[in-house]
């Protein structure tokens, strides 16, 4: 039988190899926040075929109209996305008129967003609260659902740790995506993150449920073997479910519109991480806790450095 629990520290190491660079990136570059959080304006326009001006010209046009902090980015074949300080609809109309004149093209507004700074701050605050509440709710529910098992609380904590693992993975990846591709953290990103949290716990519970069931069946098995047995028994399910969710998300990613691309990418990464963490982190963590292995960590490390 596959020995997953026995190799647990290798899997923890693999997680760290993914997470640490992500966190370093996060610390170095931070997360590029969308206007949902910072306030500002976003204008997406479509020009006639072949008439799209270079981004620099659009930035100059904004400067001429005294709109500060313009940032223009080409999108698709004929579209341009321009971010700037908050502008109102009068300024927007003026910009469109100037564009049509200067670039001699019809300009169609695909999207216009303008967010005041106060909303942004509140969204960020609420989001933090939402994550906190979700954590508490899930912790409470798991403790309740596993109340007949010894140390029910541990299962909740292990699920939350695996969940934090996934949050760290997603945030780290987002830091890289933001730095290299210019993807921004918006309200949709938050939604994706919260969904990942839900799915991560979903996966952990399926494995835990098997431990809960086996606990009454295999009384004489050591806890470590019991957990490993449960993981292997649910492995087919974990992989298949992961596959079906990944397939639907891939369909959305490849065929869905640009608007949801970022959202779906984050979900895909997060859901994958969720499956990984439930198999290789959450359940093995229970064994670490059962054996109170942290008492040996220091010794092990010192012997390793001596070798």
């Amino acid at each position: 039988m596959l020995d997953i629990v026995g190799k647990r520290y290798w899997f923890f190491l693999l997680s760290l190899i993914i997470i640490i660079p992500g966190l370093v990136g996060l610390a170095l570059w931070g997360l590029p926040l969308a206007i949902d959080f910072t306030g500002g304006s976003l204008l997406e326009v479509r020009f006639d075929a072949g008439q799209r001006p270079p981004s620099a010209d659009i930035v100059e046009l904004y400067r001429d109209l005294e709109v500060s902090d313009p940032l223009a980015q080409a999108a698709g074949d004929h579209d341009v996305v321009i971010r700037s300080r908050t502008i109102d609809e009068d300024q927007q109309a003026a910009i469109l008129e100037a564009m049509e004149q200067r670039f001699s093209s019809q300009v169609e507004v695909l999207r216009f967003e303008s967010v005041g700074p106060s909303v942004g701050a509140e969204v960020a605050e609420r989001a933090a609260m939402a994550v906190g509440l979700a954590t508490l709710g899930i912790l409470g529910y798991i403790t309740l659902a596993f109340r007949h098992v010894d140390h029910a609380f541990r299962y909740g904590v292990a699920a939350i740790l695996a969940m934090l693992h996934d949050v760290a993975v997603v945030l780290g990846v987002e830091a890289f995506l933001g730095h290299f591709l210019g993807w921004e953290v918006d309200a949709l990103f938050l939604t994706a993150l919260l969904t990942v949290i839900g799915f991560s716990v979903h996966d952990s519970i399926v494995v835990f449920d098997r431990i809960r069931e086996n606990d009454t069946v295999y009384r004489r098995l050591s806890y470590e073997k019991l957990v490993n047995h449960s993981i292997v028994q649910t492995l087919d399910r974990s992989i298949n479910t992961q596959l079906t969710v990944a397939l639907t998300l891939l369909a959305l990613l490849l065929l869905g519109g640009v608007t949801t691309r970022h959202f779906v990418t984050i979900l895909l990464i997060g859901v994958f991480s969720g499956t990984y963490s439930s198999i290789f982190n959450a359940a093995p963590l229970l064994v670490v806790w059962e054996n109170k292995e942290w008492r040996n960590w220091f010794r092990r490390r010192s012997s390793a450095s001596a070798a």
Binding site: R111, Q233, V245, L247, T248, L255, T260, V264
Partner: protein
């Protein structure tokens, strides 16, 4: 062999599916059952059909409390204005404690729409005939007609009438005599046309204060232009009445006791604190109980919306087909049955969307597609257990029942945790009017609930219906064993 299902279960399943199919029909037949008459159709969000979304916020310092009633009142007023725009299915709702969300699908003239939503209401100071004091008192709360629009358009007032009041009008060049209710022939609408001396734009500020005797008054300050007009008018009309009119409704009729030439005046009238406050607020902000400012504008052009709708629909269908193919290939016969259950799942979920109705947005569709994955997961859990039980030598019927009962706790607990997240997401979305977040969590939650139902009832019924009479030993390959 005992029968593991009842005929009524089959009948019920067919009934549910038939109703769902009927509701999903693209012709949108609606519900017509005696007293229940309802249209049933897909409500598309702004991102799918294009339109304008405006978030308004009470423009007051954060330490000033805004009551729920005030926000509700403001919402109703904004809704009235929005309705005047003639937009189909506008959404106007209070979001959180200080915000109002306005969604206007398919709006073409964005600027006009925002102006309409934001306008403060027309405040007018209207001349009242001094000869008719009883009428003045009766005026309070009444709707009247004024000549302001005619003045604006530069037109003469429609019914010429004798001048019986000293006129000091805003625009002396215009023949705008004051109206007297008694002497004037009734106009076409039956109500007299009264003369507007000036409008709210002449006001600089207004607040509640106390006069030397301790009585509550509403004091106000006028702009330079306003003080001039008001000064002239009050000098000529001491003892006369001046009606304060908001959107053609008389809110107060104070008497002119002294000429007000300094640009600072006050209105007294045995006010309670509440009344005084209300009047001051109305003078300041027009008809809205709280001043509103636009804090967020999002608009999606119709091109982008149409494009997104088509792409996500294609993605949804492809996603469903790929998953169905996977299930059939991996789980063989049970997989095919699950596919049938999955189709029923999709139909029922969509029927629920149309019935509630859920506003479908792009993230909403993503939530729906994701819930397909959840629905499949329930089936996968069951089938894995089914296989295990079969390998352990159980008979098919036993294995089906055991597969379900053993898989159920994990299906229940895992889905519950997803529902908890959905609930929190929904709350998160509702506090600042992020309908995209709400749409996503709502569709995902509905998907999870429906998937629980179909996995437990329909997949199971299908399995028993088709498999109970099959000899396992001769068909092991059907089950991927």
């Amino acid at each position: 062999m005992t029968q593991r299902y009842r005929p009524w279960q089959i009948a019920l399943m067919f009934l549910v599916v038939a109703i769902a199919v009927y509701l999903v029909l693209p012709s949108d037949p609606g519900i017509h059952l005696g007293p229940v008459q309802r249209e049933v159709k897909v409500v598309r969000g702004l991102d799918l059909q294009g339109g304008l979304r405006v978030l308004l916020e009470a423009d007051l310092p954060p330490e000033i409390e805004v009551s729920a009633e005030q926000m509700q009142l403001a919402r109703n007023i904004v809704e009235n204005r929005v309705n005047a725009l003639g937009v189909t299915e506008p959404v106007v709702q209070v979001a959180g404690s200080r915000r109002i969300l306005v969604e206007l699908p398919g709006v073409e003239d964005q600027q006009q729409a925002i102006d309409t939503v934001q306008e403060t209401g027309l405040l007018e100071f209207v001349e009242i005939d001094v000869a008719n004091p009883t009428l003045t008192l009766a005026l309070q709360g009444e709707e009247i007609r004024t000549d302001w629009e005619y003045q604006q358009a530069g037109l003469p007032t429609p019914t010429p009438r004798p001048t019986n009041t000293a006129t000091a009008t805003a625009d002396p060049s215009e023949p705008t005599p004051a109206a007297t209710s008694g002497a004037t022939p009734a106009s076409d609408e039956g109500a007299p046309l009264l003369h507007t001396v000036m409008t709210g734009s002449a006001l600089r500020s207004a607040q509640v204060s106390q006069d030397p005797t301790g009585e509550l008054v509403v004091s106000f300050e006028l702009t330079e232009e306003g003080s001039q007009i008001f000064g002239e008018y009050t000098t000529d009309n001491v003892g006369g009445f001046l009606a304060i009119v908001l959107d053609k409704q008389v809110i107060s009729v104070p008497q002119i006791t002294v000429p007000i030439t300094s640009g600072n005046g006050s209105i007294s009238g045995n006010f309670s604190l509440e009344e005084a406050n209300q009047l001051a607020v109305q003078l300041r902000y027009g008809s809205l109980p709280v001043p509103l400012e636009v804090v967020e504008i999002k608009s999606v052009g119709p091109t982008l919306g149409q494009d997104s709708l088509q792409k996500s629909a294609v993605a949804g269908v492809v996603g469903l087909l790929v998953v169905m193919a996977f299930m059939a290939l991996y789980y063989r016969l049970p997989g095919l049955l699950a596919d049938a259950a999955l189709l029923i799942y999709a139909v029922i979920t969509f029927a629920v969307f149309k019935l509630i109705p859920v506003t479908l947005t792009l993230p909403g569709i993503a939530g729906f597609v994701l819930s397909i994955g959840v629905a499949v997961d329930a089936n996968v859990l069951i089938f894995e257990r089914l296989k295990e039980e079969l390998r352990a030598g159980k008979s098919l019927t036993q294995a089906i029942d055991l597969g379900f009962s053993r898989a159920w706790p994990s299906i229940r607990d895992s889905n519950f945790s997803t529902l908890i997240t959905c609930l929190i997401l929904y709350w998160f979305g509702s506090t600042f009017g992020a309908s995209i977040v709400q749409g996503f969590s709502l569709t995902l939650a509905i998907g999870v609930v429906v998937s629980l139902f179909t996995a437990i009832t329909i997949t199971r019924l299908f399995l028993h219906l088709t498999l109970d009479r099959i000899e396992l030993s001769s068909h092991r390959r059907w089950f991927g064993l």
